[in-house]
Subunit: 169 residues, 6 copies
């Protein structure tokens, strides 16, 4: 039977660490569900991009990678009810067997619900994390080399740097 | 520049009429956003399947079709505020240029927002519509020949017939 | 002390019956709160106009009437919790002493909360009611003579007839 | 280990059929969770009483019965997301082992979640159902003999008959 | 007529200070409504336990106390609208005459609504408060002696210590 | 055609800086929409007053000013979805041509939606801002000279100082 893995994150933005993670996970599962958390948030300093923009970033980046696996991108809105969050994710996502996360709350909620959770390796964590990349976007220093080319193009198309810089004032 | 079309429906379930529609639209656009409406609804007679189940139905069916186009599947929850619905769709979806729909409300809302709308052709409309297929599922007559094979497999895997039959009592 | 009256309705659209009602009420109170119910609803056959459009209709119509009274227009969103509805209205509205309504639910809720309710007279009720005026808008027969001139202008400006006719298909 | 049963209903109002059901269930379980559904609804013809009023009706009625079992009364608000409803109930209620219901949707949702469901016997179903008792309240015919004395007292205290009669106009 | 008191808190978890408070209040009123606030919150460091778990803690603890009074346990979800909060509580709770609280917001809201509020005495406040008990749970020092035995058993049954410790990482 | 300006703020409370701003804007536009943000918030230290109270403050203050312009006061509830916020405002407000704001998020959202935004001048900004006026209300020092007389009267009528002082404890 098909083994399906769920990778949950906010992906603000999708960066090279996520890309590498995807490559690792698709080796371990048959199909990947790419769950985009806090889907309703956008236009803030910590969540600058809309769910639609993040779906494009992930889809275009993964398309350019040597990955054959079926990948589902699923935006997941916050419910603000931790106790029903697993059901919420399960209802909006294709059925999955393994959840990938390093977030203590996510791990606890899936574990209580009987879902297998695997922690994910970190790659070059000083730079390859959303906070750092958004800081560089705001300050105008190099962020482009830390994300797939497709992400650069999308940020450019939506005037994303102007957006995050204005929001940071 | 990439032309992207948005096809919105509830897809309860995805059937051969939808499959044919997808084939027509991908000839006219570069990329297709497959918007699954009323994403939060499930387990009723008119909306038996969850968004996750419908994402699987659409993705698997389209994968088995001779379609190269990038297809995004996007679940869209109801907001119950018609006046903000277009913004809601735009925020959760990759940017699109054309919306495909025959629903008067959807046409009106997109038109007021300045989005181009194209009506979609109907194929064998007596049989190829959700109401009729769900009626057959409830009554136990042939629905399998009206949907792609992938949909049959998914309905089977989730015990979908038992679900809709029980709900109809 | 100032006596303030609250008139609650959906005003889809504001018509000559409402106008006459306003003239009666402003004789009995010092100030009028004009509460626009179901403020979040729009673009349906029974609720075609947005709250903003209805605020304009009421304000412009009352401005053209010989009324000196201070009039507050207050959009009131539905809460779908009858038991907290009075508090909801009281929090969004200037304090009021008397509520005007013929709706049994509204009367019951205000009465239980200890608010004085007065029923309102009806004027030429066969024609001067929202259902009838919307029917005429859809069918293309005379509705213009049943509403203040300001309402005609606003409906015209927003292409309101095209909207309701399309929604009715 | 303690066996706990969950009985879910709207209890608009609690009547002799419910009372008899409680007596049957407490023979089969160690503890009873009395789940009051649609807790946010009130002041309509089908849901005239608030959750607080229904908690009093149930608690007072069960107190007057020869029942030693611990009974928890738990108001359960509607979520309008069937797919997360079981989690919602589980989070707001003490843990339970068996759910009692005759409602096809409730049975289906608990069954899919792996919770044991038992159907409940019906007693004198022509009369002992909410619809019939509310009809009698509206028409002014005998409803008092169909509910526990405690319910009569509470309906009297809150002017419940006046409420439902006015709402029915 | 029955005098009913409402005690509102989050009870994360129910501890010996709450137990002593209950004993004091039941001397002053005929019946007690035990209102469990922020009922929808759980699985965070400040709100680790679900409403259902807290209902069990309170009910089991009070059952083991020499208290004859009828006690209603009522979970109360946050509304995030302070101005309607009193109505919300009143609709979900049996009618009450006196509210017990030391929270300035709760005192203000009930006072504006004309409900009598009584402040509650504090017992051994350095230790007997939720923050301190949760700190001890996280650090692994003695919390068991600060709560009723029933609470120990429930925390044990639900693996509550593992939950709060993981969430605190 | 009528030029309409939208001024958005929380107005906690309406003060002399707002009054002066209104006078400037009405020179530049034909009509003014006075948008009261965070309309659902009240009874906190940063948002002490309800939407209804703020509507009264603004209406009464503007009535006492030499302003002929039609002014609409529109309470705007938060949606917590930045990406649909502009649509939300547009649906609840009369159509407007220019938005006045100094808030970076508001500027960004309107700019992305193609609405012209003008920044507003600041007057005596050390004192004439909500934070400072609320601080004075809490501390009992002079705030009265910083707001229109109408605001003093309304704060007095609703016992507003007692409210904010109690909430600050």
């Amino acid at each position: 039977m098909t083994t399906r893995g769920l990778l949950i994150g906010r992906f603000q933005p999708f960066h090279n660490g996520h890309a590498r993670l995807v490559r690792e996970i698709v080796d371990a599962v048959d199909e990947l569900v790419f769950g985009i958390g806090s889907a309703g948030d956008s236009h803030t300093i910590t969540n600058p991009f809309t769910a639609g923009e993040r779906i494009m970033m992930a889809t275009k980046s993964i398309e350019s990678m040597p990955v054959d696996t079926t990948v589902y991108t699923v935006p997941i809105e916050d419910l603000n009810r931790n106790a029903v969050w697993v059901s919420h994710v399960e209802s909006i996502s294709p059925r999955f067997d393994i959840a990938y996360s390093n977030n203590p709350l996510v791990i606890q909620l899936f574990t209580e619900a009987g879902v297998e959770v695997r922690q994910t390796p970190m790659f070059d964590r000083d730079v390859l994390k959303g906070t750092e990349i958004r800081r560089r976007m705001i300050e105008g220093s190099d962020w482009q080399s830390k994300v797939p080319d497709a992400v650069c193009e999308i940020v450019d198309e939506i005037d994303g740097i102007e957006r995050i810089q204005r929001l940071s004032r």
